[in-house]
Every structure is written in C-alpha cells, then in structure tokens.
C-alpha cells in the first residue's frame, strides 16, 4: 500500500464514518430518552435513499402507502383512546397529523411531478414523506411498552426492523438504486482527488451535528429531551410529557436516518436491506460511547468507517467479519467499565 492508496482509503473511511457518526448520535439520543436500542435506525437510511430514487425516476415510492397506512393506524388508536379517556379536544390534532398531513404529501407527489423538481425540493419531499414515520412507529410499537424492561424493548426494536425490511423489499424490490451526485465537482489536493459528494457528506454531517448541539443546548424542547434522558420520572413531574419526548426523539432519529440515506445514495448502491448493516456500524460507534456520550460515539463511528475501509483493502471478503468481531472486545470493555445497576424483573 502506498500513501496514495492509504489516503484514498482514509477518504472513503471518513465519508462512511461521517454517516455512521450521524447514526450513532441518533442511536444514543433514542436510547437515552426512551431506553429503546433502535435497531431499525438503518432502515430509515434505506427508506430515505430509495424514496428519493423512486421520486427521481418518476415512480410512486412505496413508503407513501406506509405513511398513509401508519397514519390511519395511529389515528384509530389515538381516537379510540381520546374517546375512551375523554380527550376530545385532541381529536382535530390527531386527524390533522395522521390523516390530513399524509394526504397532503400524497397530493404533492401525484400533482407536482417530482421528476421535474430541483434536487433540493425532491429531498425535502423525501424527508416530508419518511420522517413522520418515526413518531408513528413510536406510537404504534413502543409507546404501549414505554415502561417495559430494556430487553423487551430491544426485541420489539428487532421486530420493527424485520417488518420494515420486509416492507422495503415489497416497496422497492430486490434491485438496488443509486441517485445522481449533488455535485460533479472534484478537487485535486496534493495528488488526491476529493469528490464533491464526500465534501457534501462530511459537511452536512458536521452541520447537522452543530444544529443538534444548538438544539439540545439552546431550545426548550432540546432541554426537555435532555431532562427526560437524565431522569424520566423527574422530567415527568416537571410537566414534560414522556410521550412527547419519545415521539420527538424518534422524529429526530428518522430525520437523521433519512438524511443519511439521501447523502450516501450517490456514493453506494442502496438495497432494501442495506440499512441494517449501515445502522449496526453506527451502533458500534454508539457502543464505544457507552450509548451515552455523543462525542465519543461520533469518534467511535469514524473509527469504524476507517477500520472498514482499510480491512476492505487487505481482506475484502472478511470486511464484515472483522468489523463485527471487533465489537466484542469493545462490548466487554464497556460492560466492565460502566457501573451496572442490577435491573430487577
């Protein structure tokens, strides 16, 4: 390996690592607020990328049906609850968010000819379609189990992952998709060609991380999420709704996932099941941070990206074996260094 290749691999590793870092942040956020180990995080990457690809080739993305269906399901559950427990004032909001909003998105897709839109508009449409799925999934799968042990929530997360992978196959088929790059520009830096898309990925990741930082430090909702993460009961006593916190954290996770998908779709071909492995690599990063520290998680994720890129050069067939076997020592280290309070059943 000469320097040229080493730098190229580093570029690759950092690009992927930036995506893993975003996912790691989302995983830490969801775990801290809801105690859910969000295995389906990666599915949002695939759904985001494939939805954008569908819009660009003029197909109706299958995720639209999912949004409409999940909206109806949430509306039914919430309406039943509102009628039973006397929350009639909430009814207009329930209908607006779960029935009217998805209908508006559908209307936009059918009436506005997405193929002729500029790419930023296509991306906004994609996010408008995919991101609301996050809170809806929280409402349907996790909210009824909010007080369950972490292990039960983990099994539910795995179940949601399975269902979403199956739906992904149903909506988008087994063929992969790639979307055009945001820019064709490339730069020559001391003999290394740096792709425009790489800069987009790294730049957007850093921007997003900065925005998240400001969100958590400066806004009321960000502080509410942090409070819930530190002490659920305490936050609740201060009038912060844990349901709201859960939905908000899933909304952010879905946003980060879908945006990551949009960012890497021009770099690698995305299949309906690509998300799982991408998400798990974000996980490795998150675990390095003990599912608690954002900066360490992000650093760990970059490390995973580099490790993956170098091992694909030396032993490409064993790339996944190497990456996933290396979690085990990290897990052992983590579980030895974190003080573990026994969870009683």
């Amino acid at each position: 390996m000469d320097l040229q290749i080493a730098l190229l691999l580093a570029q690759d590793g950092i690009t992927n690592g930036a995506i893993y870092a975003l996912l790691a942040l989302a995983l830490v956020l969801v775990f801290a607020v809801t105690r859910v180990i969000f295995i389906p995080q990666g599915e949002f990457v695939a759904l985001g990328a494939l939805t954008l690809a569908s819009l660009q080739v003029g197909k109706t993305p299958g995720t639209l049906w999912l949004l409409l269906g999940a909206g109806v399901a949430v509306a039914l559950v919430d309406l039943a609850q509102a009628l039973q427990r006397g929350g009639r004032r909430r009814i207009p909001r329930i209908i607006a968010w779960n029935l009217i909003y998805p209908a508006l998105v559908a209307a936009a897709i059918f009436l506005l000819k997405p193929t002729e839109m500029a790419m930023p508009l296509q991306i906004i449409l994609t996010l408008a379609l995919v991101v609301p799925l996050g809170p809806m999934i929280y409402r349907l799968a996790f909210q009824p189990l909010a007080e369950a042990p972490v292990l039960v929530l983990l099994i539910v997360a795995v179940a949601v992952h399975l269902a979403l992978v199956g739906l992904g196959l149903l909506f988008f088929g087994a063929e992969g998709s790639r979307t055009p790059a945001f820019s064709d520009a490339s730069f020559n830096l001391g003999g290394i060609v740096i792709n425009g898309q790489t800069l987009w990925v790294v730049g957007s990741s850093i921007t997003l991380i900065a925005i998240l930082y400001l969100f958590f430090e400066r806004t009321f909702y960000g502080k509410a999420l942090r409070a819930t993460a530190i002490n659920r009961t305490g936050a609740r006593l201060m009038g912060i709704s844990t349901v709201m916190a859960g939905k908000l954290s899933f909304l952010l996770a879905a946003l980060i996932g879908a945006l990551s998908g949009v960012l890497i779709a021009p770099i690698t071909t995305i299949y309906y099941d690509t998300g799982f492995l991408v998400g798990l690599k974000g996980f490795v990063g998150a675990i390095v941070g003990g599912l608690a520290s954002y900066p360490v998680a992000a650093a760990g994720a970059i490390l995973v990206g580099l490790l993956e890129s170098y091992s694909s050069f030396w032993a490409s067939a064993f790339k996944e074996v190497i990456v996933f076997t290396l979690i085990i020592p990290v897990l052992v280290w983590r579980s030895l260094t974190t003080h573990h309070v026994e969870e009683e059943e």
Partner: protein
Amino acid sequence: MQRAILALFLVLLGIAPLVLSEFHVTLLNYIGLSALVALGLVLLTGVGGLTSFGQAAFVGLGAYASAYLTTATDLPGWLAWAGGSPWVGLAAGLLLTAVVAWLLGSFTLRLSGHYLPLGTIAWGISLYFLFGNLSFLGGHTGISGIPPLELFGLELKSGRAFYYVIWVMLLAAVWITRNLLDSREGRAIRALKGGTVMAEAMGVDTARSKIIIFLIAALFAALSGWLYAHMQRFVNPTPFGLHIGIEYLFMAVVGGAANVWGALIGAGLITILKQWLQDLLPKIFGASGNFEVIVFGIMMILVLQRARDGLWPILARLVPEARRSSRAVPQGQALPKKAMPQAGADILEVRNVFKCFGGLVANNDMSLTVRAGEVMALIGPNGAGKSTMFNCISGVDLVSEGEICFLGERIDHLTARAIAHRGMSRTFQHVRLLPAMSVLENVAIGTHLRGDKGVIPAMLHMERTEEQRLLAEAARQIERVGLKASMFEQAGSLALGQQRTLEIARALAADPCLLLLDEPAAGLRYMEKQALTELLRRLKAEGMGILLVEHDMDFVMGLADRVVVMEFGEKIAEGLPEEVQSNPAVLEAYLGGVE
C-alpha cells in the same frame, strides 16, 4: 389430566407419519428442527434471562462441521480418519460448537444487561459471513452431496424415516431440559433471573450457571444443524444468518419462553405460518420475496404488547392444575450439619472498616464483633450506612480499607459465594426472591451448597436421593419459620412480611453459623413479630450468631444482647441495650439535640 394430554400428544406424534402426506411430514420435520433450537432459547432466554439473537450461527456450525467432514475428499492427514461418517460428523460438530460457544460465552456472557444481545448480534453476523467466505466450505454456493444418515444399516433417505430421528431427539432434549430445571442445578439457573446478587449470596456460581445454559443451548442448536444437513443433504449459509436467529428467538417468545412446551408451540406456529405466508403473500403482492417477515414483525410486537409471556401460559390455563393440597411434603434423610462454634466465641470481627463510594464515606472506621450464641443489633437512622456494612461483611461489596474476619479467617477479599461457603448466610432489605417459583423451591436455593450433584446427573435425574434430602431440608426450614401452610404457593403471592420470613428460611437452609438479617421485622404484624422473636431466641440458644439491622426498637431491645449504633457511617455507641438507650449521643441522633 396433564398426563393424559401428554400421552395423547405422544401417540399422535407416533402415528403422524403413517397417516400424513409427505408434505406434512416434511413440515413436521422442520418444526422439530426449529423446536430444538427454540428449546435451547427457552433455557437460555426464558429461564436464564440471557437473550441471544445468534443461535442460527450454532446451527450452522453443527451443519457445516458434518457436511465438510462427510464430503471433503482432501481432508488433511490428521483428520482423515474422521471423514465419511455422519456420526463422527455429529461428534465433531458438537465438539466444535462447544469450543466456539465456550469461547464466545466466556467473552460475551460477562456483558451486562443489553450489551449481551448486542454481542450475540455481532457474532451472529460474523459467523454468517465467515461461512459464506471460506472457500473450503463452498462459499455462498455451499456444500452438496452430503450422505444420508445410516441407522442399523438402513439409509434414512425418506422424510418419514427421518421424522422419527428428529422427534426422538427433540423429545429426549425436552426430557433432559425438564429434568435439569427440576433439580439443584436447575434452581441455580432459574435464580439467574432474580439477579446475581441473591444467587451468589446463596453460594451459586452464576458465571458457571450462565455458561452451562449457553453451552446447552448451543449444543441443541448444533444438533439441529447436523440433522438439517443430513436431511437436506445440502447446506449453504442462508439458513444460518441473523434473520433466522431472530426467528428462533421469536419462536421461543411467541410460544412462551418460560416453558419447554412453549418452544414446541412457537416453533410449530411460526413454521406453519411461514410456510403458509410464503405461499400466500407473493400471490397477493405479485412479487417474490420473504414477505412473511412483515407479518412476523407485527405479530411479535402485538405478542409483546398483549401477552408478554407468550401463548403457553394461555393454553396451560385451559387445563385444570393438579390440586395443591394433594402435594406431599418432601421427606428425606436429614443433611449433615456443620459443627457450631463454641458459644461465646468471637465468630465475626470487623476492624476499622472504611467504605467509600466516590467522595461519599458510607462506613467510616467501623468496628464490631459478633459472638456465637448472641444477637448483635446494628441500629441507626436511615442512611447511617448499616446496609453498606452488611454488604461489606457478606461480600456483596468490597471494603475500601480495613479487615473483616470470620471464624478466624480474613474474608474481606473473598466473593459473596466463598463467604457463604464458610457458613454465613443473609437476608436482604429489599426482598430478593423468585416470585414465580414456589416457596419450597425458593427456600431450596438456600441448600445449594449442601448438595454436589452436577448437571449431567440432574439431566438424567440420577440425583433424586440428594434432591429429596435437599427439598426435605427446605421443607423443615419452612416449617420452622411457620410458613408450612404456603409451602407450595408462588412466593410472589405472599405478603411482604411473609416474604421476609421466607428469606430467613432460605438463609437457614444453608446451615449457617452466622445469620445476617436486614430488617427482618419490617412489614410483620404483631403476632408475627413475636413468632420471629421466638425463632431467633431458639436459634441463639442453638449457638447461632445473629447480626441484625432493624428499626423497630421494641423488637431490637427485647431481643439483642448487644447493640451498635451508627450515624453518618460512624459508630457512635456500643453496649448493652439499656446502656445504649440512655446514651446521650444516641438520643441526639434519634431525637435531635436540645438547643
């Protein structure tokens, strides 16, 4: 009634291949193979509380080991003797799986809480990719031309013949699993779910129990893989991926992970449903693919939301249970007892112990002694550090500085288990018992160190004499503390005061010479308190040393021979009950100073 249903089930299983079509026999074969893996998960996840998504990888190890050995034409010299025979393949597969599982287990079982299932996902993926990328295992195309099983000179090529092999092995596995759970080792395994602190304090080696169930689950999976390889006579990596591992876990959870029969129900349900959905869904959607995972995922969410214990408990409720009163109190020869130390001898000496949690000093230069045949009471306001002192003495926490001697031996560096072994037994301030187990079984956990029969005799039920003696001992202690009427009730159904009394019986079942009781009278009614006082007096007369933490002053002052008072982690007074009661420092600690 239950026996009749079991007999009917076995008869139906026996005649099934004679009357069913080839297709249905094959389906039953697949159910049997999956049930074997799910059974391992019942033991591991449902009973032991360790969640694994990676079992499919062990199935793969069993399948690939035999597939490789029976088909390879270029085995290296040292392995050549093992080629050709499926039975040698089975032995090799089990051995390989045992080694891999032991290695993975010794790393990943140390992981706490949710890190363990994440670890199983990691090695589940690793092994899957390894199968697909090793050229001598045929890569992603796999290995074909695997020879069929031969039994008594007969080649088992048909599904009908294979049916009996699978189901006999499965039923044997069910039998040994049930036997194991109903034994001393089984109680140790079931105690894992209540947290390791209690089990270790009763002398259970929890790390060993964990690795045992991990190995058994892995070996069941490997056996299933071996059967699969020789039934299918072809293997490739697909059925050993993470998604199949997840499916196995779903089987156990849907069926009811706490019971062996749950594995069979879950495997049956999911396998049949999968078959049906794989036919139906592609027709509905007009495309091919594994769409059944959508239904499985949604089903799983609903099961966990509505019936977290799975289907088995719902089905079991339909069958009337054998009447409680008809159960006989276990009888058996008394167990040998340790010799009690000389009355009045110092059995426990705590010298200048410090315990710090970060900057907080919970125990500051604490010293106390307990003599054989006396009740020593440790009292003090809330937060004085009494329970911390208890945890240091019993080995749940390590002291930061200082010495603790028990029967003349330094124990401050020993584990809770080793200390229990030396004759100290304790109860907990926050009751730690297994609510779903009977009072008798809970108390029998206390006898753990008084038996020595291991896993293999337990699986074959060859340890019944010892088991009877242990249960009889537990029954005696239950009678002694006055819980005889609820011996076969679920421990979780008792009132809190009775649960505390149960803990005393459990501690006594260990045959201790020093008893550590953490607030034994809390939640007891007046009459019960009197009975407890009586019991402790009798124990004292027999030469037992008792160290007591208690808030009920009437109870303490009527019972204790000596009292140590703690406040803010320090000893502020020590002496006879009357002396302590009039000590100004104590009065100030309890009632506040006079300004």
